[in-house]
């Protein structure tokens, strides 16, 4: 079954290669896309339905059908903020629906701290060819809007 990955935040679409972090930009975790969040994009939602493999204040991995892991990372180097300004609304192991609110945060506060607030969305260890982009760099997307499709690894 093709997995539709929705935008976890509202903002402007950016190519993953343009994310200011070598691990994401070089797709070491996997291929994907990124969103530069709007100033008022303070809610991060689940990009897919599934169970939460790991949730941190600044990042979440959801395991979807077909053993497909989707990583959403709120900002770059935000692990250094130790959760300050982030409120988590789910826990490891929880079953979540696509579009469900997972984390409240403040992109403006992240930028004010000197960090990038960009949000990479990564299809973990996916084959590049199995991903179809439904939005292009420069597009403005709303949280919950389809962003990309991940073909069944079958």
């Amino acid at each position: 079954m093709t997995l539709v990955i929705t935008a976890p935040v509202t903002g402007r679409v950016v190519a993953l290669a343009d994310v200011p972090d070598p691990v994401f930009a070089q797709a070491v975790v996997g291929p994907g896309i990124a969103i530069e969040p709007d100033d008022d994009a303070t809610v991060a939602t689940a990009p897919v339905a599934g169970s939460i493999v790991k949730i941190h204040p600044h990042a979440v991995v959801i395991g979807a059908a077909g053993d497909r892991g989707v990583l959403t990372h709120l900002g770059i180097n935000t692990v250094q903020m130790s959760g300050e300004g982030f409120t988590v609304h789910a826990a490891d192991g929880d079953t979540v629906a696509s579009g469900q609110k997972l984390i409240d945060w403040d992109p403006q506060a992240v930028r004010a701290s000197g960090r990038s607030a960009i949000v990479p969305i990564v299809a973990m260890q996916a084959e590049e060819a199995s991903l179809t982009m439904l939005a292009q760099a420069g597009d403005h997307v709303t949280a919950g809007q389809p962003l990309m499709e991940w073909a069944d690894p079958a």
Binding site: V28, V60, V61, Q125
Partner: protein
């Protein structure tokens, strides 16, 4: 634990490690001597990849980063 031991070996052992910090899918490691870090050993340990920037080494391991960081500390 075998995986943690392999990663520790690939990083050049505790003598070469200044700090290890897990971040959702990666281990952020500061090392004494980057030349003692063996990418091939880290790859063979089952990691996704290694990104280097001077003495800062990032080992991408997937969502088990927290557990692996603890396992490595337990080897001390």
């Amino acid at each position: 634990m075998a995986k943690a031991e392999k990663i520790l070996e690939g990083l050049g052992g505790f003598d070469n490690i200044v700090e290890i910090e897990p971040c959702i899918t990666r281990l952020r490691v500061v090392v004494v001597d980057p030349s003692q870090v063996q990418d091939a050993v880290l790859k063979a340990a089952g990691t996704f990849g290694v990104v280097r920037s001077g003495s800062a080494i990032q080992v991408v391991v997937g969502p088990e980063a927290d557990t692996l960081a603890e396992d490595i500390e337990d080897l001390r």
